[in-house]
Amino acid sequence: MKTNEAAVQKKSMKERMGSMGNNLSLIIAIVALWVVLGIASPFFSSFDNLMNILLASAITLIRASGATIAMITGGMDLSQNATGAIAGVVCATVSVSMGAPVWLVILLALGIGLGFGAINGVLIAYLKINPIITTIATMQIFRGIAWLFTDVTIQVADKSLIFMGRGYIGGVVPVSVLIAFGFFFLAFFLLKYTRFGRQVYMVGGNETASRLSGINSNKIKFICYLISGLCAGFAGMLLSAQVGAALPSSGAGTEMDVIAAIVLGGLSLSGGKGSMVGTLLGILILSIIANGLQVMGVNQYVQWVVTGSILILAVLIDVIRSGALKKQ
């Protein structure tokens, strides 16, 4: 019995190391990148550039705050950017042509996100359609709706909106970065400390067992897509405030950025594993690489090749570490 207990202890230690190990290796990667890129280009490690990196991460972080929660249930949301495009064009229109106050615009963005998130939620949680298929389909539907709403670019003029998108607090910290961290902390808190967060992990870990334990797994999954939509809607509005204009095509083609960062952060696509800290680190790594390559004047296409390769490398390391190759 004694040896048994020791074995249990040993294994659990190793497992604890495993879950921390992922975040730790991401932090090491960030530091290493920082040093290498800093040597390659002196501008890279300046404070201004750090803010650039965070600014470039802000929208992704808001989206990922919702998407991480949905993906921990074993789900997926590819329709976020399209939802954001609708929120962007509608909010910009309401703001410009009706002069709606900023709080109303924000509420509208959140409401639009919730509404379209609910569509995903019903399809996935209650009608049991595969989340990838569902959100590939709704991505197209929502994008179509954005184009049907308007096919022109709408300038954002409202001062408060512009301040949210492009303003700085004390002249140094971008407002949108602060907002993004607000979303991050909310999602972090939700996942780590609340009943709902616990249920999200349980449903993701084993839906059948969760249901048999009396968790309403359909409801939990539905709420996850509401949250994902909510984040997407707000991100879409903030993006148009950042750019200074809302376009029905905004965010098209970059749907995978969020997914890539989340997976890099150690989330398991089969569900039950993942964290907001991992997601944040994943986003930072991808932003740092993109920014570093930009600073060094490497062209956009090379950046895509590099980013994709890094993702494969990261996932491959994970596969090797889990021993899945040996099991073959």
Partner: protein, 497 residues
């Protein structure tokens, strides 16, 4: 090199963590002989066959085929080439492909530079094989259109398409109808007459008498009998299978039995038909029967996990309808499913999360960590769960401790009726006794326990009353004072009451 036996297994020993699954077991079978391997669940039949097929490695012992040693490192594929084939309970065929493709899967005849499938040759090969065993099917029929029995024969054909010497059939009739079983028997006899040795794993005694020449009885990882089928009787076999006297493994204590908590009337659910019973406070009601006898369906019908097509449920005298586990929980029902891994636990999550999952509502929207920790420490102590901390994945615990976590999670919800399905499956003897003790203690506290089990000794050991299921219906009821294992097993496996 010649040998008296086609297959000989000598002194096979296998130790699992905490359980000695096989303890120096011998097995031998001659060419053209059909040998039944029988025993209760957990007797070691499947482990023995897994070792034979190469799916598991034994700790000690050797396997000889026609007198030649089978090297233990040979894997399942290589053993198949040697002539050892196994047909499992779950069949492995591809419904959307033809009989011919299924028969020659992995070695389809090819032609030309692009190695395209040579369908002409494939048809010819398949037709020859089908003719050899007088099976009247077109080789290009889709397997999906066949009946289960026909599929099974295709599966057997696939095994014998190679030069098979020993064919293992694991519970081959579990999905077959009467007439299909007859067909299968004829097929088995035909194979044996062609010199194939057959190991027939089963716990249905009527089948054993119908089709085998010899019988090997196993119990607790040992061979306890090796008999000629024609020289033995059902009684003798049952005695051998049950074996031991009830030892102090079952700490039966008399509990105060109170009023009825749960009553079921004329329930239909899938194969379970017209099931009626009551269970009272402080009582352990054993539902005994073989796999597929409808016990689980009856219980899952009550809990709303499966759809109940007829019947009524009363809890403390009030009629209720239960659509799912969320509602069942509200009425004070708790369910420990048979499969810890798939249905009982969320393996990758912690002991903490798995234990408090049923009482999250009481811990607030923002989880009261302190209250949760107290609750969990309490249950860890009460159930003597061995874990380094509540915050390790439940995955890292032993089977017995995992099972205790499942129990803890439901006991935390203070149920009126605790339904446990195969509560001691796959856990070692020490942990089994602890689970029995625990169930007894719960009865003392006035909980009603329903225990589904395929293990007769434990059912007889701790139940106050036993209902015997066979083919979806309750075929017998015994009070504790009237239990005899023989009688119960006879009703469950074949004979008449």
């Amino acid at each position: 090199m010649g040998s008296e036996y086609r297959l000989q297994m000598k002194g096979i020993t296998k130790q699992f963590p905490g359980v000695l699954a096989l303890d120096g077991v011998d097995l031998e079978v001659k060419a053209g002989e059909v040998l039944a391997v029988i025993g209760e669940n957990g007797a070691g039949k499947s482990t023995m066959m897994k070792i034979l097929s190469g799916a598991l490695l034994n700790d000690h012992g050797e396997i000889y085929l026609d007198g030649e040693l089978v090297p233990p490192e040979k894997n399942a594929r290589e053993r198949l080439d040697l002539g050892i084939a196994i047909i499992y309970q779950e069949l492995n065929y591809l419904d959307e492909m033809t009989i011919a493709e299924n028969l020659f899967m992995g070695e389809l005849p090819v032609k030309g530079a692009f190695k395209t499938v040579d369908f002409k040759k494939l048809r010819k090969q398949a037709q020859e094989l089908l003719n050899k065993f007088d099976l009247p099917y077109d080789p290009f029929t889709k397997v999906g259109t066949l009946t289960v029995a026909e599929k099974q024969m295709i599966e057997i054909l696939r095994a014998v398409s190679k030069d098979v010497k020993v064919l293992v059939m694991d519970e081959p009739t579990s999905a077959l109808s009467e007439t299909e079983i007859e067909q299968l028997y004829a097929f088995i006899k035909d194979l044996a007459s062609k010199g194939v040795s057959i190991l027939y794993i089963s716990h249905k005694l009527d089948e054993v008498f119908a089709v085998t020449d010899k019988i090997q009885v196993m119990r607790d990882g040992k061979r306890v009998g090796y008999l000629n089928t024609k020289d033995t009787t059902e009684e003798e076999l049952v005695e051998l299978m049950v074996g031991r006297e009830l030892s102090d493994m079952y700490p039966k204590e008399e509990a105060q039995i109170g009023e009825t908590v749960l009553e079921v009337k004329h329930l239909d659910c899938e194969i379970a038909h017209d099931v009626s019973f009551k269970v009272r406070k402080g009582e352990i009601l054993g539902l005994f029967g073989l796999l597929g006898s409808g016990r689980t369906e009856a219980v899952e019908g009550i809990l709303g996990k499966k759809e109940m097509t007829a019947g009524e449920i009363y809890i403390e005298g009030k009629q209720v309808t239960i659509k799912n586990m969320i509602e069942a929980k509200k009425y004070g029902l708790a369910y420990v499913p048979a499969s810890r891994k798939d249905e009982g636990l969320i393996l990758i999550q912690t002991v903490r999360a798995n234990t408090s999952v049923t009482v999250l509502d009481q811990l607030g929207a923002i989880i009261d960590k302190k209250k949760e920790t107290e609750l969990i420490d309490d249950w860890i102590k009460k159930l003597r769960i061995k874990t380094p901390s509540p915050d390790v994945p439940v995955d890292s615990l032993s089977g017995g401790n995992q099972q205790k976590v499942v129990l803890a999670k439901w006991l935390a919800a203070s149920p009126k009726v605790l339904i446990v399905n195969e509560p001691t499956r796959g856990i070692d003897v020490g942990a089994k006794v602890e689970i029995y003790k625990l169930l007894e203690e719960l009865c003392q506290e006035g909980i009603a326990v329903i225990m589904i089990s395929s293990e007769l000794p434990e059912t007889v050991g701790i139940a106050d009353r036993i209902l015997i299921f066979k083919e979806g219906e309750i075929k017998g009821e015994f009070d504790r004072k009237d239990f005899t294992q023989k009688q119960i097993l006879q009703i469950a496996v074949g004979g008449e009451q």
